[in-house]
């Protein structure tokens, strides 16, 4: 019943997904080792080398403050991981709880799922914009806002999957052998949801990058001084004709990371319980 995800069969015969996974590992290493890997301080201004071409010692060139682009890109990997994992955590915990409880306790479900419906009446980007208007620009708030946006869809997906599982014989068996509500929910139903939620997590991780970049671009995401790929694009876009590399590198990093995460999610989805395959939309 509960097929644990092992890595080998997921990536067998999927060259692209394997390359994607490798790229994500590289991003992870860059995020962890940023202070060691970055050749310069990502925040340090150097007016003498403003907008210099890619070359030595500035491999990715410098921006309009003379900051080293490569170092900012390496620190940007940190933000990518923080935004992605933070939003995934909030979306899965909040959305997962609401979805499971709503499907299990029918009365409570009527109330909770109506609230989810109300939040889903707001298109995703609009909801994020409205919430960011009310909150200050900070890393934590950006993560919370994106997490809430995806918590709604996650709640609906988990709700549907829990409803299917609830009818299964093993749930009846657990109840008959005297398991309480908490035990049925978290020891019997939840383990079956882990694999599909992992797939959902990979798609949320990917979309969160695009949402965060869009918020940065609109001036409503991370504070402008934070070195993130979205902020790099947003700040340097007026120099696009003079210094096109300033947009190519961070843009390519976002595209590669989102694409890789989508490929991995797609590969994972083909290996989960076939009953849940249609529940998770992804790309």
């Amino acid at each position: 019943m509960n097929v644990p995800l092992s890595i080998a069969p997921v990536f067998r015969g999927r060259a692209l997904a394997t390359i994607g996974m490798c790229w994500l590992v590289v991003v992870g290493i860059a995020a962890i080792g940023a202070p060691l890997l970055a050749p310069f301080d990502p925040l340090e201004f150097d007016p003498l080398v403003r907008l210099s071409d890619p070359g030595w010692p500035h491999l990715f060139g410098t921006d309009h403050f003379g900051r080293d682009s490569l170092s900012r890109a390496i620190y940007g990997a940190r933000m990518a991981i923080v935004i992605g994992s933070g939003s995934v955590l909030i979306a899965l915990v909040a959305g997962g709880l609401v979805g499971m409880l709503s499907a299990y306790f029918v009365r409570l479900g009527h109330l909770l799922m109506r609230i989810v419906d109300v939040l889903m009446a707001f298109p995703a980007l609009l909801l994020a914009l409205v919430l960011m208007t009310l909150l200050e620009r900070s890393v934590l708030n950006t993560v919370i806002v994106i997490g809430i946006v995806y918590a709604t869809t996650t709640a609906r997906i988990v709700f549907g999957m829990t409803l299917k599982l609830k009818r299964d014989v093993f749930v009846d068996a657990a109840i008959c052998s005297g398991a309480g509500h908490a035990s049925v929910l978290f020891r019997h139903i939840l383990p079956n949801l882990v694999s599909p939620m992992l797939v959902q997590a990979s798609f949320i991780f990917a979309f969160a990058q695009l949402q965060a970049a869009a918020l940065d671009f609109l001036g409503l995401g991370l504070p402008p001084e934070v070195p993130s790929w979205g902020n790099m694009l947003s700040e340097e876009r007026i120099y696009v004709t003079r210094a096109p590399w300033l947009l190519i590198f961070p843009g390519a990093l976002i595209i590669l990371s989102v694409f890789s995460m989508n490929l991995v999610g797609d590969a994972l989805r083909d290996n989960i319980d076939p009953r849940f395959k249609d529940d998770i939309a992804g790309v």
Binding site: F122, P123, T133, T241
Partner: protein, 315 residues
């Protein structure tokens, strides 16, 4: 079917009421006195006092909401702090651009998405399929503003084929040739959405192709293209047409970023600029209009879906 339709409309009423309450609460969640927030920094104390009375700010929250909802239902969304005009007419000014942009985007999505999706499903598993599926996923992974900037760089700055920004209103200045201003923005907005449609068409056609009637069609020797179009695609179209509807509904708000890149005078850019200008009455009004529009389109899609596929309303 009629019962299903009535049922769907009735369940929407509480959802919309709750959503409108959230929109109403928006002004109250901003720190400060709602009347001064709505009037902006230049208001005199007398004006603030008068608006407080009109909004019933000394009444309980519930009464204030009813007062506000009454005004909204009569088309009074308040006055823009920045434009000094009724919010509704500010929004109406952006509607032309937004609707034309969304329509043109849908045109590209259908033009590119449908044939590529069909070919991808017909050549399922081949290199053509792998290339289109992979390509579609790649396009879905590109930040729209980045794509927009590079389209401007190539087609406006480099080749000079299309204007890079703005959109002179067709209604005011006439001339359908103004549509050329929307070519690059609509392509930008279409790219990720077409990618999703391609993958959806492929997936639903593969689902349908496993059904018995398709095997029968093949067994009696019909041409593969005829089977793909008439027997598979037409059945897959039910799910796909719903996706077209949802995509269209989402486009107006998704256009926020694209309209900002191309400086289009649409509703999306209005939201962003109003947020930056702290023009709260406009923000509140636009959110309300978009939510109602989004919900209405989604309802229409649901009803169309139920009339195309009777199994839905019988459940």
């Amino acid at each position: 079917m009629l019962i299903y339709a009535l049922n769907r409309v009735l369940t929407l009423v509480p959802t919309l009421l709750a959503a409108s309450f959230l929109v109403f609460m928006f002004i109250h969640l901003i720190p400060g006195d709602p009347a001064s927030i709505l009037l902006g920094d230049t208001a005199t104390p007398e004006e603030v006092a008068q608006l407080s009375r009109e909004l019933g700010l000394d009444e309980p929250l519930w009464t204030q909401y009813v007062l506000w909802l009454g005004n909204v239902l009569q088309g009074d969304l308040g006055t823009s702090v920045f434009f000094r005009e009724p919010v509704l007419s500010v929004i109406a000014d952006g509607a032309e651009t937004s609707i034309l942009l969304a329509t043109m985007t849908m045109f590209w999505i259908v033009l590119f998405g449908v044939p590529i999706g069909i070919v991808s499903a017909m050549r399922h598993g081949s290199w053509v399929d792998q290339a289109t599926s992979g390509g579609a996923m790649l396009f879905a992974s590109v930040p729209t503003f980045w794509l927009g900037l590079y389209l401007i760089l190539i087609f406006s700055v480099g080749l000079g084929w299309f204007p890079s920004s703005g959109f002179p209103s067709i209604a005011d200045e006439g001339g359908a040739s103004n549509l050329r201003y929307l070519v690059l923005p609509s392509l930008t907005l279409a790219a990720p959405n077409a990618a999703l449609i391609i993958r959806l068409i492929r997936a639903s056609m593969l689902d349908v192709s496993r059904e018995d009637h398709v095997r029968t069609a093949r067994a009696k020797g019909l041409h593969p293209v005829r089977v793909a179009i008439k027997h598979i695609f037409r059945n897959a179209l039910i799910a796909v047409s719903a996706a077209f509807g949802f995509t269209f509904a989402a486009l107006v708000s998704e256009a926020v970023v694209t309209e900002t890149v191309f400086s289009l005078p649409g509703i999306g850019r209005l939201v962003v600029q109003s947020i930056l200008r702290r023009d709260y009455p406009v923000i509140q009004g636009v959110i309300l209009v978009i939510v109602v529009f989004y919900t209405a389109i989604n309802l229409l899609v649901d009803l169309a879906y139920a009339s195309l596929d009777p199994r839905v309303s019988l459940k």
